[in-house]
């Protein structure tokens, strides 16, 4: 496997007012790597991945995505957002547009793809997540699991090199979690670089190259799944694992 660096975060800090939400984060992600980030709520795991596509601004340190440093320069932000796809907890589909239009909008307006081509590509990705038969419906007409799969297809239509998942199954009914995780496993097997914030430890075991445990803004533990579950070092990790497993 090549070890091309996709994301490099060095000494990244961020505060929300007085609250130190990211405290000295150092993280290197190589091409094709799948990283699962877990931790108690408020530990800063969502903030960490949201810093990568600048939905949150880091205040100290350096984040380099595919050789481009994230700065206040809009061009660097736009360039990075074009390479990084994101899937949200609440799906955040555009409710006034059909599923197909949700998927083809950014390729048309950001990538400047011709409409016909963008729609063709959107249909391909919708087929891959198995909701091509729902393409002409509106988001509100779909189940939660279908909406989240549509949201994944929407992100994939931009052909990103990195995918960020911010608790993609937390808002879903239990019987729909599997259909979304299946899509994500398929994506991982295809070699996508992925950062996934999730509590689905089964998914972490199956897919992750590395599991990161965060608490109070710090990376407490960072190990491959076998070691992570078998010999966690820190007490906090042990407590967390005992609570969720």
């Amino acid at each position: 496997m090549t070890s091309e660096t996709m994301i490099e975060m060095s000494s990244v800090h961020k505060w929300f007012g007085e609250l130190h939400v990211l405290n000295d984060i150092n993280l290197k992600v190589t091409k094709g790597e799948k990283i699962v980030i877990c931790g108690p709520s408020g530990s800063g795991k969502s903030t960490l991945i949201r810093c990568i596509n600048r939905l949150e601004e880091h205040q100290r340190g350096e984040i380099v995505v595919e050789g481009t440093e994230l700065t206040n320069d809009n061009r660097s932000v736009e360039k990075i957002r074009g390479e990084v796809g994101m899937v949200f907890q609440q799906f955040n589909l555009f409710p006034h547009l059909s599923i197909l239009d949700n998927c083809s909008l950014a390729p048309i307006w950001v990538r400047k793809l011709p409409k016909v081509e963008a729609r063709k590509k959107a249909m391909e990705y919708l087929k891959r997540v198995q909701i091509d038969d729902q393409a002409h419906k509106y988001p509100a007409q779909l189940s939660g699991g279908q909406q989240q799969r549509a949201a994944i297809a929407r992100a994939l239509c931009m052909e990103p090199r990195i995918m960020l998942f911010d608790e993609p199954t937390s808002a879903l009914d239990p019987e729909m979690i599997k259909e979304v995780l299946d899509v994500m496993v398929g994506l991982a097997e295809g070699g996508m670089t992925m950062l996934v914030v999730t509590h689905e430890m089964g998914f972490a075991k199956e897919v992750a190259d590395k599991i990161i445990f965060m608490d109070e803004g710090q990376i407490v533990e960072s190990k491959n799944p076998t070691d992570f579950f078998a010999n966690p070092e820190s007490e906090r990790t042990k407590t967390f694992l005992s609570q969720i497993l």
Partner: protein, 360 residues
């Protein structure tokens, strides 16, 4: 579950007219009294009004002498129709206004018929090309004779003021709303000041300032047309109100919509134009149309700066010695026409809401 339960149907609700009346109108002794008093008032008002408007009214004739009955004298409206619709616009040039009325009516009817093709093009024509055509048709140029705006009047003038106000104030209002929510302090401050000043001043004051004070600030010899000054005043006044309406819609947008647009790489303007505004404007359609209806009725205030709009000209023809004493007919007619336009807008608003509903 037993087989019996499977065959159960919901209970049939039977009310009927009598049941409904018993439940809603005569349920208690005081509701019965209220209903009877209400019916009595309806009996007092409606039949005399109907006989004045229709049954005892005079519709044919040419002079006031033809109006001998006790009802309304619609001859008064009929004889002055030209003034009421066109104002003092020269008789030889009326065809220019008629073309505009025709184009407007045809376009609107086209837009109202469901499932027709090219509606987008017709909409663009109505918003961008039609106004340009109107400017030339109404004021002259390109070989057409010049018609001064002091001759414009009647329903024609009302539609010009309301039309310009409606078409221009919405985009300005949207820009002001975006400006007020901008992260740039200067833009936000200027938008806020602009909105609050215009909202804090009565329209009548705006029109007075446009008509009487504005010329004082201009160097000698520079003279803007009075109608244009009034139009600008009406436009900004309405834009300031719309800005606050639109801002309400923007604030109702969930944060996730912004984040999803940004994550997809959309720039600020594309995000606004494609994702945020279409949704937030949809939420505030009733309030926007409400503003338009208010604007349409407020156009009658231009009377105080000497422009004869629809209502103004009806008042004016009522002072004609040949037709003294018929102002009731004039006001009832004006009310009816205003009602038709405003009710039309209101219905259109409801249709639009239904049509754009995607279930969220």
């Amino acid at each position: 579950m037993s087989d019996i339960n499977k065959n159960m149907t919901p209970p049939v609700i039977e009310i009927g007219v009598l049941g409904w009346m018993k439940k809603n109108l005569f349920s208690t002794w005081y509701n019965t009294v209220l209903t009877l008093i209400g019916l009595y008032f309806i009996y007092l008002i409606i039949p005399p009004f109907l006989s004045w408007v229709f049954f005892d009214a005079t519709f044919s004739g040419t002079t006031r002498e033809d109006c001998t009955s006790s009802g309304a004298c619609w001859v008064f409206i009929k004889q002055n129709m030209k003034l009421i619709i066109y104002g003092l616009y020269p008789s030889d040039e009326l065809w220019r206004i008629n073309i505009a009325y025709f184009l407007l009516t045809v376009s609107i009817i086209y837009l109202l018929i469901p499932n027709l093709k090219y509606k987008g093009s017709v909409g663009i024509f109505l918003l961008f090309i039609f106004p340009v055509i109107c400017v030339f048709l109404f004021s002259g140029g390109l070989g057409l004779e010049n018609v001064e705006t002091r001759l414009w009047g009647g329903l024609f003038l009302t539609l010009v003021i309301a039309g310009v106000g409606i078409v221009l104030s919405l985009p300005i209002g949207i820009m002001l709303a975006l400006g007020r929510r901008s992260k740039l302090p200067i833009v936000s401050l200027l938008s806020t000041i602009f909105i609050e000043i215009w909202r804090g001043v009565p329209l009548i004051t705006v029109l007075f300032m446009a008509s009487n004070m504005f010329p004082l600030f201009m160097p000698e010899g520079v003279n803007f047309d009075k109608l244009i000054r009034a139009l600008i005043g009406v436009m900004f006044f309405s834009a300031a109100y719309l800005a606050e309406v639109v801002r309400g819609g923007l604030q109702a947008m969930p944060k996730g919509q912004y984040e999803a647009s940004q994550a997809a790489g959309l720039t600020y303007w594309k995000m606004m134009a494609l994702i945020i505004l279409p949704q937030s404007l949809k939420i505030v359609i009733p309030a926007i149309i409400g503003s338009f209806i208010a604007l349409f009725k407020d156009t009658t205030l231009v009377l105080i700066i000497g422009l004869f709009d629809f209502l103004g000209i009806i008042q004016f023809v009522g002072t004609n010695p040949d037709w003294l004493g018929f102002s009731h007919e004039g006001y009832v007619f004006a009310a009816a026409i205003f009602w038709v336009f405003c009710f039309g807008m209101s219905r259109y608003s409801q249709r639009l809401e239904k049509k754009l509903d995607t279930g969220h």
